[in-house]
């Protein structure tokens, strides 16, 4: 078989791959070639069929039609085990790691899973290789440390290390940089380039055009399950890619900053606020900040540096009871927390004119089994009386048209909508009582271009009505494009404040704690 296989031929190609889920085609007639020594970006909006394609390549799904050709031979990748046997490896977006096992346990598992001797012996023969790979990946953690002690970056490196143990020819990364802080993204792609020269064929699934343009060699755009565009990166542009992803011209709104002027009304203020929660590792230290009417403020930073915790303290002032909090929080001129005592409880805060979009939709903000009326009633303002008033139909239809939510039917349950549309329904609900302050954690995470643009537009509309918006994000593009002011969090402190024009470089440094 290697006789037929020449150096220029693709190592993996998919031919006319089609995948049906019920009557819906998630993937339709997809043909792509992946070459050794090249980084191939597969991009597209949510639901474009990227994940389905990669799952078929890795044996997690079986194609309904079409074939996968490996080194010139058609193969049936019936399971991940078969894929690994063909030296195809995949790093999933959500890490496949057990928090309580050690690094070594994971490596042993990986070795043993490929081995037919029931796990006796062969691990020791990998020890040298593991040490080499560790230094190659700069993963300097003791092998006996538990995975839960690892940082996100280290976890990802462990995942990569697992795949490299068996010298893969074809490496698939699903949204690899979604979890990475900006300063680590470049390092990650540096690593990919080294892997590429082994040589390895690398496929990355992403929706970040900037990274595609900077780091990839080839790019394929999928839309609605079909290949819409294919090119070498050097001969295309981000605009062309974006147009092909969405299928129409999208005008990217340029940030029209509203620079804060003095004398604006204060909406929310923190005065020397410190907070230590026993179950969180992190403490908030000496937070001083003021949010005024008519501005969009980003709580930026790598995830887990206190942004979410500070929001929690606003929404759940009762958390601040007792010795663990100092300082004060004021909302709309009335104190929520004063020197370690809450003056309002959570239910009271929710009755104020504020909106809140939690970061994990179905855990924090919405119930999939609820119909849309009940969904809207999750906002306390829509259930003010003992007898439930029906939620006004015009409220729902207005939200639907404002946010362009499809399908156009109101008797569905929330869970019947796609993820992006669920998020739109959550935001529609949280702005339906025209709040004076909207707090959103990662409002556009996992939603497609059009939805993101719609959500950003909503935030700007609120600002136009002299309302305030706070959003948590670690996505530099989103932050620079949307915010009027950026507060960067690092280890529980606001270490710097940025006003326009923003310098991405300095922002990235601030994310890493360098001011």
């Amino acid at each position: 078989m290697s006789a037929e296989f020449s150096a220029n031929a693709p190592i993996v190609s998919v031919r006319n791959l089609t995948k049906f889920y019920g009557r819906e085609a998630a993937s339709r007639n997809v043909s792509i070639d992946f070459h050794l020594g090249r980084i191939h970006a597969v991009i597209g909006e949510n639901g474009a069929g990227k994940s389905t394609l990669m799952k078929m390549l890795f044996g997690l799904e079986q194609p309904s039609e079409g074939e996968i050709v490996f080194r010139g031979q058609p193969v049936a990748v019936t399971s991940p085990r078969v894929a690994k046997g063909l030296r195809i490896a995949m790093v999933h977006q959500h890490f496949m790691l057990a928090e309580n096992l050690s690094v070594e346990d994971h490596l042993r598992l990986e070795v043993n899973s490929r081995d037919k001797t029931w796990g006796v012996g062969p691990y020791s023969s990998f020890e040298k290789k593991i040490a080499e790979l560790q230094s190659f990946l700069k993963l300097d953690v003791p092998l006996n440390s538990a995975v839960r002690q690892l940082s996100i970056v280290q976890k990802q490196k462990l995942e990569i290390l697992k795949t490299l143990l068996f010298d893969p020819d074809f490496l698939i990364f699903d949204e690899p940089t979604a979890v990475l802080p900006p300063n680590e993204v470049e390092k990650f792609y540096g690593l990919l380039r080294e892997l590429r020269s082994k040589p390895t064929a690398i496929a990355i699934v992403t929706h970040k055009l900037r990274e595609v343009m900077m780091y990839a060699d080839d790019v394929t755009v999928l839309r609605r399950g079909e290949v819409k565009f294919h090119s070498a990166v050097s001969s295309t542009s981000a605009e062309i890619l974006a147009r092909n992803m969405v299928g129409e011209n999208i005008t990217k709104t340029v940030n029209d900053f509203h620079i804060r002027t003095k004398g604006r009304e204060t909406i929310l203020s923190f005065k020397d606020f410190s907070f230590h929660h026993p179950t969180l590792r992190l403490s908030l230290v000496n937070v001083d900040a003021r949010i005024t009417a008519g501005e969009i403020v980003a709580f930026a930073g790598v995830e887990g540096n206190g942004q979410t915790d500070l929001i929690k303290c606003i929404l759940f002032p009762e958390l601040c009871d007792g010795p663990r909090a100092q300082g004060s929080i004021q909302l709309f001129g009335t104190p929520l927390v004063e020197s370690g005592h809450s003056l309002v409880r959570h239910a009271g805060v929710r009755r104020l004119p504020i909106g809140w979009i939690g970061e994990d939709r179905l855990r924090e903000s919405a119930i999939a089994e609820f119909n849309l009326s009940d969904h809207f009633r999750l906002l306390p303002h829509h259930r003010s009386k003992a007898r439930l008033a029906p939620v006004a139909l015009e409220l729902l239809t207005q939200a639907q048209s404002q946010f362009d939510i499809r399908p156009l039917r109101l008797n569905l349950k929330l869970g019947d909508f796609s993820g992006g549309n669920q998020q739109k329904w959550v935001i529609a609900r949280e702005v339906s009582h025209s709040p004076r302050l909207l707090i959103a954690a990662h409002p556009t995470r996992g939603v497609d271009f059009a939805a993101e643009a719609r959500i950003h537009a909503t935030f700007r509309e609120l600002r136009g009505q002299n309302k305030s918006v706070i959003f948590i994000s670690s996505d530099l593009d989103e932050i620079c494009n949307l915010a009027d002011r950026i507060l960067v969090f690092f280890k529980g402190q606001i270490i710097s404040e940025f006003t326009p024009p923003f310098s991405r470089e300095r922002l990235g440094q601030a994310f890493g704690g360098h001011v």
């Binding site: 855990r363 903000s365 609820f370 999750l378 009386k385 439930l388 569905l412 019947d416």
Partner: protein
């Protein structure tokens, strides 16, 4: 059409087939078994009366449980709550003179008593984090022991060999029988039970506290984030749940037996769990579901008497298979609906 057959047909045939085989093992024709089941539960007015009486108990307990289940709780204390309500009602009725004032007290005592039991469960749940399954089950045992003690040491009827109290004053026989026959158990509380189901449905679907109960049941964290106090909802749901089970005392003591008998309950409080599950915690569906289970319960006695090999316990196996079959059919219906939905969009 073909798909529908695979969906429902296989489940139904498997279920009915399994029951038929069981019947054949017991040397009875399945058809005969069904005939006996229906005849002995619905045939004569006396039989129907017992069936409706059972259904009344099941409805009260099951709607109560449904309210708690909808809040995401799984208390199994309906049995104890029912017993405690019956016991206290009888005790008060025996101790008080038969005045109009005591009439009110007799009516209310059982309801209060069972509600208190529910609130005890809620207290341990909210303040100490104790799981409601454990605490409610423990309370069942406590109530059973307390009832034994009370009856045998203080209220034992002198004219009876059975462990039971004396008969309460006839002024307290508040709920007349539906059928005119002497000692016919079904009484007007049956209609109250139907009303209770409708009221519980209205409460859950159309009122704010009902909405909050459903929200907590579907997702505690989302409900909390929407400004609902989860603890308050637990207290409310467990209280209402116990209150509804307490209405069983009206049926049992004030409507039918007029005395407390140890072991009066045919495990109504436990059977009600199955009733609520088959009805998917929908109080309106609990009405037919209760009738169905009441027929099986009454029919079991009939089968016990009229066949050689089929005993009450054997009927429990049949019940279990039927419940399984129902649950599978419901799941299949959900699938069909979801698919129809997907086709439309």
């Amino acid at each position: 059409m073909k798909r529908a057959f695979y969906r429902y047909g296989i489940a139904a045939i498997t279920g009915i087939g399994a029951i038929s085989v069981l019947c054949l093992f017991a040397h009875e024709s399945p058809w005969h078994v069904v005939q006996i089941l229906l005849n002995t539960s619905l045939g004569e007015p006396e039989d129907l009366s017992v069936t409706l009486f059972y259904a009344t108990h099941l409805m009260f307990c099951a709607t109560g449980l449904a309210v708690a289940f909808q809040a995401g709780l799984f208390p199994i204390g309906a049995e104890g709550q029912l017993s405690f309500a019956c016991l206290t009602t009888t005790m008060v009725a025996i101790m008080l003179p038969p005045t109009y004032f005591s009439l009110v007290i007799v009516l209310v005592t059982g309801l209060l008593a069972s509600t208190v039991l529910g609130l005890i469960v809620a207290y341990f749940k909210c303040k100490k984090g104790a799981h409601e399954v454990i605490t409610s089950m423990m309370l069942n045992f406590i109530v059973a022991a307390f009832a034994n003690y009370m009856v045998s040491h203080h209220f034992q009827s002198h004219s009876s060999q059975d462990p039971e109290t004396a008969i309460i004053h006839s002024r307290f026989w508040l709920f007349p029988s539906i059928f005119h026959a002497e000692g016919s158990p079904a009484n007007v509380t049956f209609f109250l039970a139907v009303l209770a189901c409708v009221a519980a449905w209205y409460f859950l679907e159309k009122t704010r506290p009902g909405f909050e109960i459903r929200a907590v049941g579907k997702s505690k964290s989302v409900a909390q984030n929407s400004g609902i106090s989860v603890e308050r909802i637990y207290v409310l749901a467990l209280g209402i749940s116990a209150l509804l089970a307490g209405f069983g005392a009206w049926n049992q003591i004030l409507g039918y037996a007029h005395k407390y008998q140890i072991g009066f309950s045919a495990d109504y409080g436990f059977l009600a769990i199955a009733v609520a599950l088959v009805a998917r915690n929908n109080p309106l569906a609990i009405i037919p579901s209760s009738l169905f289970f009441a027929i099986l319960l009454k029919g079991a006695t009939g089968l016990d008497i009229e066949t050689d090999f089929i005993t009450r316990d054997f009927v429990k196996i049949i019940q279990a298979v039927l419940i399984l079959m129902f649950l599978v059919l419901q799941k299949q219906r959900d699938k069909s609906r979801a698919e129809a939905e997907a086709r439309r969009t």
